[in-house]
Assembly symmetry: C2
Homo-oligomer: 223 residues x 2
DNA sequence: ATCAAACGGAGTGATTCGCTCCGATAAGCT
DNA sequence: AGCTTATCGGAGCGAATCACTCCGTTTGAT
């Protein structure tokens, strides 16, 4: 009140660093999995550890923020799919986009961090959008009728995490990365073709329950 | 030389323990990935650490032995597939068996251990058997012609490692394990249906080169 | 020139790792 | 029964790694 508050001298740099940290976290999480260290994230972002810890009080807080962002990306991909005129093309857009997103970086930390309201909200909205996408594809007759939404989401998760890409990145074999990404695109195409109606035979077993998806984010039982 | 050598007093127990250690190593490797610790393997096998280290001089030696065994399992699965009269049924047998084997336990340690002659030999023989399986399926017209052997092997690797199963095991949610395995069976069926001829469209990009597979077992470049 | 905000990273205590070492245990011999 | 010896189990060691703190340095709006 007495003095006018000083403006932040290096605010622009701070914002740039924040974006760099979040992007680095995605990449390190994709290659190192659940054992991604804060030091590795800071180094990849090109900032000091202290810089990271001024923005996020703990590692968990950083991951919670990152998960909220990635969930927003999933939601956007689903909405883009709904914007397609052709139901099948829209579904394929979502599936391929979701597989590319963060290369399945979320799965390894599922259950290791607490769920924030923001995370829950975005997850619910993304779920709704995907459900609409699946219903529309079912109604149009393009998606084989015995594939459920949970089948689809689990298939995406299965294809998102590429052991091949992870190992090559960890070994620094950047010369093979392009070939590996091409290979994964082909595998994705194979799986997507398997989703197309008409199916040669019905899927085995009972449709998977939604709890396979929802309960994964609950913290471990006791310890 | 003077005295006749004594017979091993607890030889039967030693052999039982060896089998338990190898089975435990498969399971721990499947859940803990590359960070599987010797202590965890010994505990799961119900033996002391010292027992494990008398049989294998180092952790690497244990893993080398295990890899040789699992490669033998892959070879057996491929040979079983070749024994099928129907080329398509034989190929499906190999794919589904390979996916179930050790749940992709080998990928996380690829490149972290040296390749022994035994490993190289079994790998080569398994490769030959799979090549015959793929050729036969191609000739019969059941397998879509644009799918190569490398496509198939990479698809198997992709489906073998289940993030869902790994997380549930790590959290001790044994109540959901059956549902998760059923879900993976359905996903596998979807992908296998995508392998079936006729294909709705050709696969994108160029066929993947074999180096994606062979170079993974080379130790990291320098460091 | 001033000075507060933002920076980088050495240092800390806790934890985990692969592996060694040694006292306890039990099967085969006499 | 008593002796012998291969095998067993796990406490403990040094090294490595972790999340996080603390503080001297840099920067840029005033």
């Amino acid at each position: 009140m007495s003095k006018p508050a000083r403006r932040a001298p290096r605010q622009a740099e701070a914002e740039r660093n924040d974006r760099a940290v979040l992007q680095a976290a995605r990449e390190v999480l994709a290659t190192d999995g659940a054992h991604a260290s804060v030091a590795a994230i800071a180094e990849r972002a090109g900032v000091g550890i202290g810089t990271l810890y001024r923005r996020y009080r703990t590692k968990e807080e950083l991951f919670q923020h990152l998960v909220a962002i990635v969930l927003g990306d999933y939601l956007a991909a689903a909405q883009e799919g709904l914007a397609h005129e052709d139901p099948w093309a829209g579904l394929v857009h979502y599936v391929t986009s979701a597989i590319g997103l963060a290369s399945g970086s979320l799965a390894p930390i599922a259950g290791t961090i607490a769920v924030t309201p923001e995370m829950a909200d975005r997850n619910e909205r993304a779920d709704d959008a995907v459900r609409a996408l699946v219903d529309r594809a079912h109604d149009s007759g393009a998606l084989r009728p015995d594939v459920t939404q949970v089948d689809l989401e689990l298939l995406i998760e299965q294809l998102a995490k590429s052991p091949l890409l992870e190992q090559l990145k960890k070994q620094g074999r950047t010369d093979l990365l392009d070939a590996a990404m091409n290979a994964r695109t082909r595998i994705t195409a194979i799986a997507v073709d398997g989703l197309r109606a008409p199916a040669p035979h019905p899927l085995p077993g009972d449709p998977p329950g939604y709890e396979l998806f929802s309960e994964r984010w609950e913290p471990p039982p006791v310890g």
